[in-house]
Symmetry: D3
Subunit: 158 residues, 6 copies
């Protein structure tokens, strides 16, 4: 039967011992989106400077958050992240911005949490910077879309 490895036999939290695992090159990509009203999306997208700064700030925040995943998530292992990119794709039809983060590492554990954290904090930063105009923005669809490296093999989600 499937087990939650973050809990020991008594169901108590622990940081799983990974010392015996191999160091391999690992990659994870996560996605998410923040939905907003059309006027807010236009404010972000139109006007070079403004777009620059809202999304530039969100990108920086997402990258920095990837480095902090192990400080935020109690049982997440610290890692020497080797690379992070955060990309934004405005979707006018859906009145949303799609956020995608990819994290690479050479290490003993995967970087799903780092990628998911980067997406989450990038979305929170967009919310923060636009909330004076639109309190009803909604963050969603945060999920893992690809993971490679490590014993569990290649994973792809939608």
């Amino acid at each position: 039967m499937t087990k939650l490895t973050h809990l020991d036999d008594k169901g108590q939290a622990r940081m799983v011992d990974v010392s015996a695992k191999d160091v391999t090159t690992r990659l994870a990509t996560a996605k998410g989106r923040i939905t907003m009203n059309a006027e807010t999306l236009a404010m972000i997208s139109e006007g070079r400077a403004k777009k620059g700064d809202v999304l530039a700030a969100a990108r920086i925040a997402g990258i920095m958050a990837a480095k902090k995943a192990h400080e935020l998530i109690p049982l997440c292992h610290p890692l020497l992240i080797a690379g992070v990119s955060v990309d934004f794709t405005p979707d006018t039809k859906a009145s949303a911005i799609d956020v995608e983060a990819t994290v690479k590492v050479e290490g003993k554990t995967g970087v799903e949490m780092e990628a998911l954290t980067a997406v989450s904090v990038a979305c929170l930063t967009i919310y923060d910077m636009c909330k004076s105009a639109d309190r009803a923005m909604r963050i969603g669809d945060i999920r893992l879309v690809e993971k490679s490296g490590g014993k569990s093999g290649h994973y792809t989600g939608d």
Copy 2:
């Protein structure tokens, strides 16, 4: 016309000066949910010890993250958070756990970002603790549902 207050006249990021704002009691409640397969939800919900630890860890992580919102979100003001609660409601029908966080403060700025950050990190922690069993979990519907205090008045979302 509506403006993004986090950008100055040249569209550059700044932390808005709130020194002249009144100190009032402010509250914000945010919600979100993490969807998973039925077996994962059962593993979390059944068995006292396990539920205790997965959700207890996520609750602690959410509360601690509320205190870190201003470190994660570039233009978010530091605040002396006066109280935080994080609650979980399993929804068997939707195969999901609903997460709700309420933050209170006496201060010059609202606590939306703190509440939204608490919800986000609580969801990420559940993902982390269950990912060995279910990589396809999805975090969504993160939004502000209530905000009171401050000049902008009472806000309620759905």
Copy 3:
């Protein structure tokens, strides 16, 4: 009956809401000690430069840790600490160093945890700096010795 205020009616952790509490001047003093073999104590105490740096480093570490108490202790409120001092008294007879930290604040909650954290981290720093010479050092007797300000009144311990 006495209750643990950090747990709600269901026994779940929360950060207690202190928004309605008065802002008063609060002070807390904590003490602790680290016991070591006589040679280690002599190495710290004799020789001006060395003593300077072991205890100077431990003092700085203790002061900085007081500012981090709310990051380390999940339900501890952030505070604008107004003053911290950390003092050391070598006790040759007991082959130990006594550590005392006093923290002051004007705020809504007490600073016991800040003072206890300062003492703990100052002791850990002494351990770290001397462990190459003495692995059997022991940290103990960490307790609150005085607390004033706030509704619960003046407390003194031994």
Copy 4:
């Protein structure tokens, strides 16, 4: 003669250069205890939910603190901690809770400080969560009980 390796020839603090040391699997176990009055111990031990949350919070806090040891202790090297567990054993006779933390790493330096920090912060968290009922709790007997890996060989304390 024994030297304090954290001080250079002039007695000034430095972070010792470990770049030439071997990467080996290293383990450290530390213990400590927090003494309290009988009623406080009963409140923690009796009642499933409450015990769950006090000790679950302290366990999470201890694990997270192990990851922060190098931020708290000035000359402590950062490490990629591979595993952490924190365990509690109530001792009704002594009216105390014994705390034990074990940390593993594959690295160039030992993990004593990480284990000692985990124990210290777990004890501080128990103090914080119970202090409204019992201000006279006392934290003590924090010491290294086992260390393996690295050039200095296997160490066991009592």
Copy 5:
């Protein structure tokens, strides 16, 4: 005679007690500059996107660093920063970028250190982002240019 208030009568470091000081609106402005070769300055200044991202990243880094001043500088008090702005002025003649940061607070201590830290970290970020092209960049002239609020009155430097 002038005294260093961060040292007590025995010359030991302490965080000065400011609990009795008045809460006033305080402002500090600091400046600095980073000198580089002409080609590097051109790379930053020419090309909209690149300039946007180098200076946008440095601005965000400076703002976030202002919030961390009390974590970096041992005896610096934590503060609820009310506003931060960071501005850049390229100086083609001097082949340099001038950096200016202004911080505001309503509090018991000044915000010089926050402004100086913002300038320093903004310069370090520019160095980091351009170092693959120019290792000989030089950061200098970091100083306080204005300070108001508080008992010590209005200060202006050059």
Copy 6:
């Protein structure tokens, strides 16, 4: 043509992927200086205890800041720093203190930013501790003076 590797083809910030780079022993030395009036320099230099604590605090702050470089500088990679030293040389003629930091690592990226950050924060700490006596101190000449290890070879500056 030279490129800024921290920007992708669209000029957007990213943390450069270093997973394919070799692990080598790398060293970086940075220097800087803080200029002050003669009386301030005398206060720091004369009197054993005082000098001890101002420079001891600045040394500790610089060492701890080296460990935080990747948290402060958005695109800086986390590293397992293997050693840090920070040295001060008073220069009575120039009425200044020269600061030098050397950082070592075995890793995939260099440690320039760690050394430059250590120098910057050591200078800021001296400023903070002496600012009650001398607000016009000035921090400057922060630059890389040596770098070895890695593909780019040995670099020396003046």
